[in-house]
Symmetry: D2
């Protein structure tokens, strides 16, 4: 009870790390939108394991199959079901964890909550769950692009103490995809990759910050007072595994500014209201103001490390754990498409609240 | 469409700054719980304007009336409606803003979304809306206290550049309420008050950080993968006016740690699993682990300032705005009970998901 | 947990028969719509007790106050709160029922569920709860009228064994309001009134059928497969106190027809698809087809009767109950505006799903 | 937007008649419950086409695969995904309907709503969608059985004008499954079968009534005032394809009774409150009273008939349609497991609201 997300564009993910597969249903997608597996696969490829030397070696092609909701190449307006089979599921790698609670992981909390858990690769708490999010995110991005020509772009801004010199504006998907760490600052990217490799070699791990920008979003999205756009974005991002912090616009950095510095001065340009700065991150009172939507997410260092750790087993015995299993020394490069997906899902949901199912058909069936 | 919050404990707030009043309905509160206006008023008093020299001079007693859901001093299990009348509503103070969009406020975005807005004191975007949250939060706190003896305590940790020396543990309500800025570090509190007064005197404003701890919460609350406890907390906090960032546990600070440093080692104590540190903030995989729940919220500097600002009016003319109206130079002292309320509401909702309506009756009617 | 209804037009009622009052919040109403207490009062007057000699003598003016969501005579797009105070609340009339479970009433089930109940006049299970529905229904009717010129009209079709000669088409509000039983067939109305008076004089009660038609609704409303228009209507109607059955179009009567007789032949008229007959009741596959929406509701005979009845008290003792309290010998005349309200709320909700919040503004702010 | 159902036990179905398959996700099932494909298949077999000479000859084995949510033979408490592939999907059979709106079907309304539809076998409006419901219903029945030893049993009570002599009590699954029409009155069953065969031979179709009883349900399920148990049941049943009417207990038949006759007298037995009669159908004020829950559903005659019909095509031309395609002359025998499923899903959802996720674990993980 908690696997669905969204109000008018409602997704539900399912699947464990080592079950029959993972997937998603997408309910509320406008009818008539061109969609095929080939549209979705590129984003899944950006998330899939084994894509580079700084990601886990678990080798999953993560091929998706659309099972429903698309007919003759276009969406039907009814529920879209997408399936990705698990293939490289070596449950034996996890045999050591059958009775042991890994620090920083959800083993103990799942056991405490459910009394029965899949101990293979994190089960439902595995980042494989995010496959469904990414697939749904592709659909959401296409809705936004068709409606507004809007773009959603995320990238790695910081790894451990290494920060990119990248500002909020002008980042292109090409810059992001130009290197395996997905940082648009090439010099920083090299240092980040080295830092991640060092962590891996030391049996350790590192975290960092992913930034995400949505441009082209009109004013008016967001439903005060609880379904505010920033509130829904915060929930969306914090629901991503390993995320521990979310900022909109200036975020925690805005604290050391005064109101005179922080208020974004307003002016008219091309017939619409604009702001000179964007400390608000494109959201005022929970409603988009037409500027870029700016979100930052903090990801903790990967919980799986090679170094021995003190923990307990399910009988309450103290245990020294030396992790095996396949994992990423830094989750951020693969988190980038997930952050984009969650941003797009929130925005598309709020777009549909504005225009409704019929309004959403406009770009498509003609 | 967006004024309700929660799944099993569902609240809905209503009301504008200058309408007939503000209020809340609380649906799903367990039956049999003692409740009266006298239980709710103290938290409202902590939020009300005019309570100290560093808050707005608008003088509202904010007296609440319980209209339904309580019979013979105990809750009925059905919807509780609470009403607070607006009394000191001087709409004339806002006449200058009838056609002008104040920077940092929601005037423009409400106009863009709805095409018709209450320009008096922010209307629905006013912090008066939070009265309903605070009243509901009192109910939620009582549910948690009856169930677990749990406590929810928030305080001001930082104002502008001034940080309290307060750690996460051991803060008492008495320490928080000992000064008008609600900072449990008395030396920092004095400096904070001076800083707020300076901002007020300069026609400026400051922001800061509110921290909140829930202690006594058992393991098992939170519903992966979207209704994770941290995700719901992030949404709850980010929905508070002026909040721009949310952290769980280590938050953005955890980024500069490695996995070896950040993973909280597990051990047994008193027959249950504990962690040596609490960088996780009491939540693993979206489920509480039995440690204290730790949340930090960044609040931007108050948007209303006395200094002249560049902006536009609703006809697209450039305007220099010099704000009048009554406001707080720093929202944080009055945000403390709101943060507590949102924390309590999320936790009580997840508690009810665990034990159900019947299970929730246990402490009361029996 | 269960006091809210609707997805994009979301209402929540609150209040008990003998508490401080009853009311409703309406979230998602389009902005800019003219609205005042004077618009709502007429529907409340049609539902209020004491309106005629065949209704309960409890004398309540049921005056409504709009507390929020309306500014300068037009809706704000944010939550509308409406309050009706209870005035003629003679709790002493119910003292005999403090410990006794009345047959056919919810006394026992509320006690079994909540362990604490308001024994005065049914508490939350009182038909006074429907005041909030009726007030919200007025708002929904106005949305439908502004969008489509649509009309929602209900009437009493049957009382006990007495059936009106009225067909589905052409019934006007004037015909319905022409007599106190709200049956558009004047001859049947007279007999129905006599039958109700006979029941009252015998300390007995009668039930019947309320029909409701919505005309002017376009094709396309309804969301398969669970939020079908007919499914939502069935829930809406069955949630009205005393309703025991719901039919769409032919309903149970369609059973004795064959497919050849029951299928509504299609043809073109004025450039749109029409059907020769309307056994479908305006809904195919859960989606409106542009014909009138036809719903019938069965209401049981009023549970409160004057005749002695066998029952038990809350200690498990057998009791002979002779009811006092004020009640209606037949609920149908006062149920008419409630049925209209629920029909309108479902249709307006589905209309908003189609056009969204922005689309819904079209008739209003200009 | 409308493919999900339930609040704490939340299912979502997906799939079209002729796409890759159909399926369901079940979110909120308690952890630790034994579950395998073998548990689900028998109910699917009761619904599958080609099971007898009075059902459609489309031959689908409807084999289910559990893709997630079950580990080592027991449920995990997280989302259960179930897939059934379409195999005998002869889309060519439907080529004639590509541009024609079949009377009594959802062809026109889907086109009007979505502007793009799957014209093969009804697409999403096909009764194949109910496969997901039936699979989820099996899970719900097991939850109810484990919690209360409760049983849910549906049967065919009437076909066209032929009514079974069966009362509400004592019907066994064995009696229901003893004949292909699923009527526990063997004499009536024979006549019903003959009537269905006659309809088929005449290119016609017939409808009827399915009754459903849930026994062993305790008092206290149902959430006034909108999530009343009867309201949720009405929605659940009316969402089944071809259902046009729903009754609880006495339903429309109760209209010709007076209050004295209809009120169920209360008495004590075995320490609990019972009623002498059960015209209420086990529900008072929207809450179960501990008696059997009684529901009747009216199903219209199958819309697909062999006889020529007048209709229009998607260009607005008048067309005489002579249906081909494979279909049932009477849907009722195959609707029986669907009705059971919807009854069980509503009851299990309300049971989980009462006891919560933790409470629901009690019978299982031990």
């Amino acid at each position: 009870m908690g696997s669905s997300f969204g109000h008018l564009l409602r997704i539900a993910t399912w699947g464990e790390s080592h079950g029959g597969g993972v997937g998603v249903t997408i309910d509320g997608c406008p009818a008539g939108m061109p969609l095929s597996e080939a549209d979705i696969q590129p984003d899944l490829d950006r998330r899939r394991p084994g894509q580079s030397r700084i990601t886990t070696p678990r080798d999953e092609p993560d091929r998706c199959e659309i099972l429903s909701g698309v007919f003759e190449g276009r969406t039907l307006g009814t529920s879209i079901a997408i399936l990705v089979r698990n293939t490289d599921a070596r449950s034996s790698s996890y045999e050591d964890f059958r009775h042991v609670y890994r620090p920083g992981h959800a083993d103990y909390t799942y056991q405490a909550k459910y009394g029965h858990r899949s101990w293979q690769g994190g089960g439902r708490a595995s980042a494989r769950e995010a496959i469904g999010r990414v697939a749904a995110g592709t659909v959401a991005k296409r809705i936004l692009e068709a409606a507004f020509g809007a773009r959603v772009t995320a990238w790695v801004q910081q790894v451990h103490t290494l920060t990119a010199a990248t500002g909020w504006e002008g980042v292109t998907p090409q810059q992001v995809e130009a290197n395996m760490v997905r940082c648009p600052d090439p010099q920083a990217a090299e240092r980040m990759i080295a830092r991640i490799e060092q962590a891996r070699d030391e049996g350790d791990s590192v975290g960092g910050i992913v930034r995400c920008v949505a441009s082209g979003i009109p004013a008016g999205l967001g439903d005060p007072v609880f379904d505010k756009l920033d509130a829904d974005l915060a929930r969306a991002m914090m629901s991503i595994p390993a995320c521990k912090g979310v900022e909109i616009g200036s975020g925690f950095g805005g604290i050391t500014m005064t109101g005179r510095e922080h208020n974004d001065a307003m002016y008219m340009a091309d017939g619409r209201v604009r702001t000179r700065t964007n400390f608000a991150g494109g959201i005022l009172g929970g409603i988009s103001d037409g500027e870029d939507i700016l979100v930052s997410c903090a990801f903790k260092p990967t919980a799986t490390i090679g170094h021995p750790q003190q923990t307990v087993d399910d009988q309450g015995n103290a245990v020294t754990l030396k992790a095996r299993g396949r994992h990423d020394p830094c989750v951020l490069p693969r988190a980038v498409p997930i952050v984009e997906a969650m941003m797009a899902l929130v925005l598309a949901d709020h777009h549909l609240r504005q225009v409704g199912q019929r309004g959403a058909l406009t770009p498509f069936p003609g």
